[in-house]
């Protein structure tokens, strides 16, 4: 009855072959990745397949790996099967120069704001998103603050003596 990680992996490999890669299990949670062009096909399979039924998108977020040339930005989907209480993590990687990823709003209505947030902080351009604009930061902001090339600190702070902290 219970859905095991091996079963999920088997199902995915059966359908997509060697297009899904990087299977690993951390703290009992299955994680895998694929090319970014495949993301909708994989997500659709995870939702619709009768035994998998990952119908709930827990979270959608970005990660910036500045040393991973050509694949700097990862988009991570956290999916949840509520009937079996199983969670999985699915990643796609994209180039930071042209971060285009297909939107998942057609599959999950909840992806709308999550994708806006990911756009807000990492600048991932979700192709086909109905309303892709900043959600959490001020509209005047002209950069993507969670990318590692930008400073974390607020540049308007005046009451700090930079000499004290070695920067």
């Amino acid at each position: 009855m219970a859905l095991s990680n091996e079963q999920i992996k088997e199902k995915l490999v059966e359908k997509f072959g060697d297009q899904v890669i990087g299977f690993e299990e951390q703290y009992g949670m299955l994680s895998f990745q694929s090319a970014k062009e495949l993301n909708l096909k994989v997500l659709n399979f995870l939702v619709e397949e009768a035994t998998l039924q990952f119908r709930f998108l827990t979270d959608l977020c970005g990660v910036h790996y500045p040393d991973n040339k050509g694949q700097e930005i990862a988009v991570v989907y956290h999916l949840h099967n509520m009937r079996e209480n199983v969670r999985i993590r699915y990643k796609v990687f994209t180039d930071s120069a042209q971060p285009d990823v297909y939107t998942a709003t057609g599959l999950f209505a909840g992806a709308n704001w999550m994708e806006r947030e990911t756009y807000d902080f990492y600048g991932v351009n979700f192709v086909g998103h109905p309303n892709l604009k900043r959600i959490l930061n001020v509209e005047e902001m002209d950069y993507f603050p969670m990318r590692k090339e930008y400073p974390l600190e607020d540049q308007s702070r005046i009451d700090k003596d930079d000499e004290m902290f070695g920067r």
Partner: protein, 185 residues
């Protein structure tokens, strides 16, 4: 979707209230009884400026800069507290002790300037933990409010404890209950 998302949903009880429930009389008297009971209870209010509440002995309030038994400043301006400070509120300037200043400073190096920005400070106590010289501690005094930002830059003279040699009275006052706790009373 026709089938429920999970198998844990519970139906809501939407039966109409019966005649007694609709009168609300029982519930009104229950509420009045609770209100009435409070008339006879002890008053909870602490009249703050006149009477104060004792703070815990580990309460983290305003900082103090410590002196040793002879009244010499312990701080050597090593900067570990400034590095440990998550709010980056501490700044200091070090200076070398001159001949004849042995009565003022414990070691050869001392803090010529030591400032804490109390508006930035979050009273986490990391400075206290980081200090290798027992020089900075937090106290049970809360930081008072002020009208302007510059009133919150606490300089060395605002932080140093009274000198136990030259000002024993003030020192006893600052000591508070600590001595009794040391003896285990």
């Amino acid at each position: 979707m026709s089938e429920p998302l999970t198998n844990r949903s519970k139906p809501v009880d939407r039966r109409p209230m019966n005649w007694v429930e609709r009168l609300y009389l029982v519930n009104i008297f229950k509420g009045m009884a609770i209100t009435l009971r409070h008339f006879f209870k002890k008053k909870a209010t602490i009249k703050y400026p006149e009477e104060t509440r004792p703070f815990s002995k580990v309460f983290r309030g305003l900082h103090i800069l410590n002196r040793d038994e002879e009244g010499r400043e312990r701080c050597t301006a090593c900067g570990l507290c400034a590095v440990a400070c998550p709010a980056e509120a501490i700044t200091m300037e070090a200076a070398e002790r001159q001949e004849g200043e042995e009565k003022l400073y414990r070691e050869e190096k001392y803090a010529a300037k030591y400032e804490i920005n109390m508006l930035r400070c979050i009273f986490c106590g990391y400075c206290e933990e980081a200090c290798p010289k027992d020089a900075i501690y937090l106290s049970q005094t809360f930081t008072p409010a002020n009208y302007q930002r510059k009133g919150f830059i606490y300089k060395k003279e605002d932080l140093l404890i009274p000198d136990p040699v030259t000002d024993p009275e003030g020192y006893q006052k600052a000591l508070g209950t600590i001595n009794r706790e040391k003896e285990g009373v």
